[in-house]
């Protein structure tokens, strides 16, 4: 029997926020009643959402104050438009005033909302700057990935600008999406229909093994909540030394794996004995594997 659980993947943005926060603690900013909708979509004859596809507000996790945002993947694939972006930027800027223990971003997005063109692109830049401002002020920003849309495009850049990323194995993190790669490079290079290939190339387990995601949890809202609670108030260093160390790590990674044709070759090179099994094992077994690999590292 599979134990009952509350899937993060299936939940709406609002259900995710409710599930992560202490019961009754959520206070929403710019909620749907205020109807701050996209000014661009009606011109294209497209429907709007009263919250423009993002929920922002404040609450507590195990009694500790946080600011929280959740993208609604069911509205335009969680894509970032002008209002959507402004709500996220405003939330991050508020952190400088209220100094919460963390800003938690539940990302579920294909990236910029192309219908809003430059406004969406500008929003991305503003969000990223606001993330850095918060971090520079010593406020932790945590990205959470586990929705159906994964975390792509500009949103993936925002995620990697955060202190840390927590994801379920259903989560995906990549700049370009599978269909884009297939369209540009050809199906021989990347078959977007081959979902096993998509997940082992962009999925959270691969990103964890290559050091872009910090923690893998099961697809369960409580598991996400516990993982976020465990790292509240523990910002990572955000200075020149940290940046240079990250650049050096990434340069070393490119040099080490540039010949690899498939993620499984990288996993094998990292010391995984049975790379074919990695995709199938559960989060807890995967985390034990990661612990062994990292413990073995010099």
């Amino acid at each position: 029997m599979i134990p009952a659980r509350h899937s993060f993947l299936e939940a709406t943005a609002r259900a995710r926020v409710r599930g992560l926060l202490d019961a009754g603690s959520f206070r929403e900013f710019c909620g749907p009643a205020q109807r701050r909708t996209s000014p661009h979509l009606p011109a294209l004859g497209m429907p709007v959402a009263f919250d423009d596809g993002i929920v922002v507000g404040e609450g507590t996790i195990e009694g500790r104050p946080v600011l929280i945002a959740a993208q609604e993947g069911a509205f335009m694939g969680g894509a970032v438009g002008e209002v959507h972006g402004a709500k996220l930027t405003g939330l991050l800027e508020r952190a400088l005033d209220t100094r919460p223990d963390a800003v938690v971003l539940l990302l579920d997005s294909g990236g910029v909302r192309l219908h809003e063109a430059n406004a969406g692109l500008i929003a991305m830049g503003e969000i990223q700057r606001a993330v850095f401002d918060a971090r520079a002020a010593g406020i932790e920003v945590i990205a959470v990935i586990g929705g159906r849309n994964g975390c792509y495009g500009g949103t993936s850049i925002v995620a990697r600008s955060c202190d840390r990323i927590i994801a379920s194995e259903e989560g995906r993190l990549s700049v370009s999406g599978p269909e884009v790669i297939e369209a540009v490079e050809g199906i021989e290079e990347f078959d977007a229909q081959d979902r096993a290939l998509v997940w082992r190339t962009m999925g959270a387990k691969h990103r964890r093994l290559t050091g872009e995601i910090d923690e893998i949890v099961a697809d369960d809202i409580d598991a996400f909540r516990s993982a976020v609670a465990a790292v509240l108030g523990a910002p990572r260093p955000f200075d020149l030394d940290a940046l240079e160390a990250e650049h050096a790590r990434l340069a070393g990674r490119v040099a080490r794996f540039k010949g690899a044709k498939d993620a499984r070759e990288i996993w094998a090179a990292l010391g995984v004995n049975d790379p074919d099994r990695v995709s199938d094992i559960e989060a807890d077994e995967f985390n034990r594997l990661v612990a062994v690999l990292e413990g073995d590292r010099p």
Binding site: M1, I2, A4, H6, S7, L9, E10, E169, E170, Q193, D194, R195, A196, L197, W199, G203, K205, D219, S279, D280, E282
Partner: protein
């Protein structure tokens, strides 16, 4: 009167002699029973004669695709005017042979994705359609007026004597082979590999004329896999109503499920909702259905005790092999399926439940849509009253009491359609007149293509409620019972409220609150598995889903 005692004809073995001649021509070319694959088309030119009736094996899943392509390459000057008698028109070469004149006449069951092109070829006069059948009808005619002269079949492996191993996807092979081999027909088998010894003999070698090792394994489509992630709360609600209002009420133990998301929802709430109602061991014990992955939780939790399958399903092979108490398994450890026996078992079961695209006010239903010629497949035989049935069972007798309230007591098979009132794109499921009528005119059919007739149907389940047609005494009542569950469709909005209340008082219309179904509980949280990954977990890693269904 002068009655002659002489035979009306002097030659009683012409078919056998003709077979010998064909075999000799084939052997002269191939040198033996096993032929090299590049010679396949030449072999066909040698053994197929103009005007032959021919069957190219292919059903929902397994297809003799290599042989089908080889046939499409024969010289139409040598082979032409064939009469194709096969269940499924699914691959492009199935129709290419009509375009080039190799084939002329067609008797079939189902056209699926080729339905549009078939319709165009019929209009262009390239295909003369004899009739569109159900599976059992066409197989039956193999043993009467439509016996193939040549059959092209597919198997997993063969030895050099022609013994065939079909693997779990035996499907239609036995029916085709039996009819062809025992009436002097030529049997050509494509196999994925030639081996020294087959794991088990599904078809004895002396029935088989020629064997060819195909360059690529035969095509198999995973058409019975439904991702639990796509099941909606509405479907869970309907599944709850089916369990309480039909399975529990009648005590349905032997049944056949259609293959849509609606019935998958039923399967996935057996271990949760039905378990809580204490229904394990009381309902859903024996099924006639393919090994759909969504059955795994109900098997593992002890609901379903035995399943006979028409075919297999990609990724389920190991799981099925490891559950030989439940499935029909050969001594070699792999499943044996058989569409004919599965269809028969389903026909004589207590209940059939499936989905459809349109239902009219008599309860006739059709999956026919404009511009396509799709056909029937297996649903009409599963979804019809089994008037030849004589043995009793609690469900059959209980339904019979409702159906035959006067005169000779009889039983009744339950035939259920489970539909949402609107389809995708807000197309209403309930209509005054089926599109099937127009289709009849378009394709010059003898009758409108109805999948399940209204007088075979006993229940309609929608998100609004259940119509029990057994308790309706007239066509007018039946129409109101259907309107009473048709929601906000035009048909539903034209209901006579007083009639509906009267029917509800009688139990001919049941709403969720009438059968103890709490709508507030109707959510995906009831699903024992919410994703393909959950199905893998339930199977303890034995189910290996095809890559297209993964999100990990």
């Amino acid at each position: 009167m002068d009655v002659s005692t002489h035979s009306v004809r002097g030659d009683w073995n012409s078919l056998a002699r003709n077979y010998d001649a064909r075999l000799a021509r084939g052997l002269a070319l191939a040198g033996g029973k096993v032929i090299p694959s590049p010679q396949t088309t030449a072999l066909m030119e040698a053994v197929i004669e103009p005007g032959d009736r021919i069957c190219i094996e292919g059903n929902n899943q397994k297809h003799a695709d290599f042989l089908s392509r080889a046939l499409a390459e024969v010289d139409p000057a040598k082979v032409h005017g064939l009469h194709v008698v096969q269940s499924n028109i699914a691959l492009a070469p199935h129709l290419d042979i009509f375009e080039s004149g190799i084939a002329r006449r067609l008797d079939f069951c189902y056209a699926g994705p080729q339905g549009l092109r078939l319709a165009q070829l019929v209009k262009a006069g390239k295909v003369e359609v004899g009739a569109i059948h159900t599976y059992l009808e066409l197989y039956s005619r193999y043993f009467a007026d439509l016996t193939p002269r040549v059959s092209l079949i597919a198997a997993e492996a063969a030895d050099r004597d022609g013994n065939l191993y079909t693997g779990p996807n035996t499907e239609d092979t036995p029916a085709i082979v039996e009819a062809t081999a025992f009436r002097s027909g030529v049997l050509i088998a494509q196999v994925n590999r030639i081996v020294d010894k087959v794991p088990r003999v599904d078809v004895p070698g002396d029935w088989v004329s020629f064997v060819v090792e195909a360059p690529k394994p035969h095509y198999i489509e995973p058409i019975f896999t439904r991702d639990p992630g796509a099941i909606t709360d509405i479907q869970v609600l309907m599944a709850m109503m089916v369990i309480r209002g039909i399975y529990e009420k009648y005590g349905v133990t032997r049944l056949n499920h259609g293959i849509g998301f609606d019935t998958a929802a039923i399967e996935l709430i057996l271990p949760t909702y039905a378990e809580e109602l204490g229904l394990r061991g009381k309902i859903c014990r024996y099924m006639s259905v393919n090994p759909c992955p969504t059955l795994i939780p109900a098997i593992e939790s002890g609901f379903i005790e035995a399943i006979h399958c028409a075919g297999s399903e990609l990724g389920m092979e190991r799981y099925v092999s490891e559950r030989s108490d439940v499935f029909f398994i050969g001594r070699d450890g792999t499943m044996r399926s058989n569409r004919v026996f599965c269809q028969l078992a389903g026909h004589y079961a207590d209940l059939f439940i499936g989905s459809t695209l349109q239902i009219d006010l008599e309860g006739n239903s059709s999956t026919a849509t404009h511009a396509r010629m799709t056909g029937f497949g297996g649903a009409p035989n599963f979804g019809s009253e089994s008037r030849g049935r004589r043995h009793g069972s609690p469900a059959w007798l209980r339904a019979g009491q409702e159906a035959h309230r006067q005169g000779m007591p009889r039983g009744r098979k339950l035939v259920v359609q489970m539909v949402e009132t609107f389809k995708e794109g807000l197309a209403p499921t309930f209509v005054e007149r089926l599109d099937a009528w127009e289709l009849m005119d378009t394709f010059d059919m003898p009758l409108p293509p109805v999948m399940v007739y209204g007088d075979d149907l006993t229940h309609i389940v929608t998100e609004e409620g259940i119509a029990n047609l057994l308790l309706c005494d007239s066509l007018a009542e039946r129409a109101q019972a259907i309107r009473g569950v048709a929601g906000y469709t035009e048909v539903g909005r034209k209901r006579d409220r007083q009639m509906v209340e009267k029917l509800r008082a009688r139990g001919a219309i049941l709403y969720p609150e009438d059968i103890g179904v709490d709508k507030r509980l109707a959510s995906r949280d009831l699903l024992a598995a919410r994703s393909i990954k959950d199905l893998v977990r339930w199977s303890e890693g034995l189910y290996a889903p095809p890559a297209r269904f993964k999100n990990w």
